[in-house]
C-alpha cells in the first residue's frame, strides 16, 4: 500500500486484509496507542458488518441454462442465418460468374440467342410443304416464269411470285396479290416460231417439265403461316431460261436467230453451260423464312421425293373428297395479319433486304443472283399473232375444190398442194419476224429505260406496250392484206400480165371460188 494513505484508509484496508505485513504491524502499533483509531476501527467493522449483512442473495433461476442455450442457439442461428443473404449472395454470384464467363467466352450471349432463334426456327420449320405443288404448275407457267419472271402461286392465280429489278438494278423477288396474269400460249407460240417437229416439242416439254419439282421446292409454306423462299429462285429462273436457249439454239437452227434478239442469238453453248453450272454452285438449301415473329435466313433441306411419296398416298383420298364434292381450301399467304409487324428487315450481312406490306413480301437479293446477263425476249404474243395472221392470209389462196385446167393438155394445177407455212416467195414470214425482232429489241430497250424511271407504273407499262404493238401490228396486217389483194388480182388475171398464157386466161374462174378467196 502507498504510505501516503491516511490512517483511516489504512484501517479500511486493514479490515479488508489488504495490507502488507509491515503496513499491518505499523497500523496495529498505531491502533494500540490511539483511542481515536480504536474507535474508528470499531465503527468501520460495524459498517462492514452492515454492508455485508445487507446483502440479499438473488434466488436461483432454475431455467437459466435452458434459456441461455436457447438464446445461444437462436443467436447462433441468427448469426449464421445465411438464408436472408441467399438472394443477394446468389445475385452477386451469378453476376460474378457471368462476368467471368463472358470474359472467357464473349460470344456466349450471342450463342444463346442463336440457340433460341434456332429453337424458334425449328418450330416454324415444321411441316413445311411446297406451295407451288398445289398450284399445279404447267409447262406454260414455267416457261412464262423463265421469260416474264412471274409465277402463279395458286391455281386461281390470286397470288404470284414475281422477280424483278429495283431502280438501283438490284434483283428482287416478291410475293404479291396478283392483278392478272395474261401470258397465255407463249410456249405454244415459241414452239411454233421455232418450227419444231413432234419429237423436238416433246423434248422441250420434258426439259421445262423437269424444273417443276425444283421450282416447287423453292417456295414452302406451313400451317403456322410460315413462308420459306429460297433466294436461289432467281438463279433457277435463269437456269431454265438458259436451258431453253440451249435447246433452241441446238434444234431450231436458223429459226433460233430469227425469233431471238441478236445478243442472245450470238451466245455460244459454252456460255450457256457456264450459266447452268454457276447456278448449280449456289447453296441450294438456304431459305429466307417469313414468320409471324420474325424474318430470318437459315438452312433447310426439303425432301421432294419423300413429299411426292406422301402425296401419292393422299392422292386417292383427295380424289375421294373431290368426288364427294368437298372443296379443299387453297393456302393463301396472309400478308396483312401475319407479317404486319415486320416493317423492314435487313440481315446483318446485308445480303438481302426485306420489306413487307399489306400486299406483298419483297426481298432484295444482292449476292444471291449469279452473274447471268438479263435477256430481253421478243413478245411471244405478237409472234403468235403474226403466225396466226400470216397463216390465215395464206390459207384462203388455195382454191377450195376441183382443179383448174390450164393449157392445151388440160394440165391440172392442184391448188391444194400449196402449203400455208412453206416455200419461198409466197409470204415472207421470216422477213416479217426478223423485222418484228428488231423492233422488239428497240422496244425492249426503251422499256428498260422507262422502267428505271417509272418503277411504280411498271405493271401498267407492259399492257400499254402490248396495246401499242397490237395497233402497229394491225396497220402492218392491213398492208399485208393489201399486198395479198393485189397478189390475188394478179393471180386471177394472168392474161393481163403474161401474153404467153392467153389461152389459160380464157378459162373462167368459178364465181363461188372467187367468193371464197375474199378475205
Amino acid at each position: 500500500m502507498n504510505k501516503n494513505y491516511t490512517d483511516k484508509e489504512l484501517l479500511s484496508a486493514y479490515i479488508d486484509g489488504e495490507l502488507s505485513l509491515n503496513e499491518k504491524k505499523l497500523i496495529e502499533d498505531k491502533i494500540k496507542t490511539s483511542l481515536e483509531l480504536q474507535k474508528e476501527l470499531s465503527d468501520l467493522k460495524k459498517i462492514k458488518e452492515l454492508t455485508s449483512g445487507s446483502v440479499d442473495r438473488i434466488s436461483e433461476s432454475p431455467f437459466f441454462e435452458t434459456r441461455l442455450f436457447a438464446n445461444i442457439n437462436t443467436q447462433a442461428s441468427n448469426r449464421f442465418n445465411y438464408k436472408k443473404w441467399i438472394p443477394i449472395g446468389s445475385l452477386t454470384l451469378v453476376t460474378l460468374t457471368l462476368m467471368v464467363v463472358l470474359k472467357v467466352n464473349p460470344k456466349l450471349i450471342d450463342n444463346i440467342v442463336e440457340q433460341q432463334k434456332s429453337n424458334l426456327a425449328g418450330f416454324y420449320k415444321e411441316n413445311l410443304q411446297p406451295l407451288l405443288y398445289a398450284a399445279d404448275l404447267t409447262n406454260e407457267d414455267i416457261f412464262n416464269f423463265a421469260v416474264y419472271q412471274e409465277l402463279p402461286l395458286d391455281s386461281a392465280n390470286q397470288q404470284i411470285l414475281k422477280l424483278g429489278f429495283d431502280p438501283a438494278g438490284t434483283e428482287f423477288f416478291e410475293i404479291k396479290n396478283a392483278s392478272n396474269i395474261s401470258h397465255a400460249s407463249n410456249l405454244k407460240s415459241f414452239v411454233a416460231a421455232l418450227d419444231l417437229n413432234e419429237a423436238e416439242i416433246e423434248m422441250i416439254d420434258s426439259i421445262i417439265g423437269s424444273y417443276s419439282d425444283q421450282l416447287s421446292s423453292l417456295v414452302l409454306v406451313n400451317d403456322k403461316n410460315s413462308v420459306a423462299i429460297n433466294p436461289n429462285i432467281w438463279n433457277t429462273r435463269k437456269v431454265i431460261l438458259a436451258d431453253i436457249l440451249a435447246f433452241a439454239k441446238r434444234f431450231a437452227g436458223q429459226n433460233y436467230s430469227k425469233i431471238l434478239p441478236t445478243e442472245v442469238a450470238e451466245l455460244d453453248n459454252k456460255t450457256i453451260m457456264k450459266w447452268v453450272s454457276d447456278a448449280k454452285s449456289v447453296k441450294a438449301n438456304q431459305y429466307i423464312f417469313f414468320t409471324p415473329d420474325s424474318i430470318f435466313e437459315d438452312d433447310f433441306v426439303f425432301d421432294m421425293d419423300e413429299f411426292k411419296e406422301q402425296m401419292e398416298n393422299v392422292k386417292d383420298e383427295l380424289a375421294e373428297l373431290k368426288e364427294q364434292g368437298v372443296e379443299l381450301k387453297e393456302f393463301r399467304i396472309n400478308f396483312d395479319s401475319a407479317y404486319g409487324n415486320h416493317k423492314r428487315n435487313t440481315d446483318k450481312s446485308k445480303r438481302y433486304e426485306i420489306s413487307v406490306n399489306k400486299d406483298q413480301i419483297k426481298v432484295n437479293v444482292q449476292d444471291f443472283a449469279i452473274n447471268i446477263p438479263e435477256i430481253d425476249f421478243p413478245d411471244f404474243d405478237s409472234i403468235a399473232i403474226i403466225i396466226n395472221e400470216a397463216t390465215k392470209n395464206i390459207y384462203p389462196v388455195i382454191p377450195p375444190s376441183g382443179s383448174v385446167v390450164v393449157g392445151k393438155n388440160n394440165y391440172n394445177y392442184n391448188f391444194n398442194s400449196v402449203k400455208p407455212r412453206n416455200k419461198k416467195g409466197e409470204v415472207s414470214l421470216d422477213s416479217v419476224m426478223h423485222q418484228r425482232n428488231t423492233e422488239n429489241e428497240l422496244k425492249n430497250n426503251e422499256q428498260k429505260k422507262k422502267y428505271q424511271n417509272q418503277v411504280k407504273t411498271g405493271p401498267d407499262f407492259n399492257d400499254s406496250l402490248m396495246l401499242k404493238q397490237n395497233e402497229e401490228l394491225k396497220k402492218e396486217m392491213d398492208n399485208l392484206k393489201k399486198e395479198l389483194q393485189k397478189f390475188r388480182q394478179d393471180f386471177t388475171k394472168p392474161n393481163e400480165s403474161d401474153s404467153g398464157q392467153s389461152k389459160k386466161s380464157k378459162q373462167k374462174v368459178n364465181p363461188v371460188d372467187t367468193d371464197e378467196i375474199e378475205i
Partner: protein
C-alpha cells in the same frame, strides 16, 4: 469409518484454475457441451454481481444471459493469460455498466411518470429494517463507488481483482 466407507464417500470437488482451463481447452477442441459446466459453475456469482450492481432484480437474468453468450462467442479466443473468473467478471461488470448507461440515457427521454422506479431514501421510515436502509444507501451511490463496494464487501474480491474488473 472404515476404509471402504471412506472410498464410497463423495469426494469434495476442488475448483482449481486447471478445472476452468481444462474445460475451456475441451471447448476450444470442439466439445461445446462443456460450456454447460462453465455456466453451472459461474452463473450464480455472475447473477449476484449483476443484481448487486444494479440494485434491482429486474434484468438480472437478461444481463447474465448476455454475459454468458458473450463468453460463449469469444471463449475460443481465450488466451489463458488470466483466470477465467477475472475474464468473466470483467465482462459482467462491463455489461452492467452498459446497462446502467443505457438506462440513464433512456431516463432523459422518458417522462417522469414512466421513469424506472429507483430505491430512494424517502421510502425509508423508522420501521424500516437497517439492512434495507443500507441497501438503499448503497443503491444511491454512483457506479464508480458502488461497484467496487459490492465487489469487495459483498462478493469478497480483492482490491487487485476489483481494479482488473473495472479496467483500471
Amino acid at each position: 469409518m472404515n476404509y471402504e466407507q471412506k472410498e464410497n464417500m463423495e469426494q469434495p470437488k476442488i475448483l482449481t484454475l486447471d478445472d476452468d482451463f481444462s474445460l475451456i481447452k475441451r471447448f476450444i477442441d470442439g466439445d461445446e457441451a462443456v460450456f454447460a459446466e462453465l455456466v453451472k459453475r459461474h452463473k450464480e456469482k455472475v447473477r449476484n454481481i449483476v443484481y448487486l450492481t444494479l440494485s434491482s432484480s429486474n434484468s438480472v437474468d437478461d444481463i447474465a444471459q448476455e454475459v454468458f453468450i458473450t463468453v460463449y462467442r469469444h471463449l475460443k479466443s481465450f488466451r489463458f493469460e488470466s483466470q477465467f473468473t477475472t475474464w468473466i467478471y470483467r465482462i459482467t461488470i462491463n455489461k452492467c455498466k452498459d446497462h446502467l448507461r443505457k438506462r440513464n440515457v433512456r431516463r432523459i427521454f422518458l417522462p417522469l411518470s414512466e421513469e424506472e422506479k429507483e430505491p430512494v431514501l424517502e421510502s425509508i421510515n423508522e420501521d424500516s429494517d437497517i439492512k434495507e436502509i443500507v441497501r438503499s444507501a448503497i443503491a444511491t451511490l454512483p457506479d464508480k463507488l458502488k461497484i467496487p463496494l459490492v465487489l469487495k464487501d459483498l462478493e469478497g474480491f480483492s482490491y487487485q481483482e476489483i481494479a482488473v474488473y473495472n479496467g483500471m
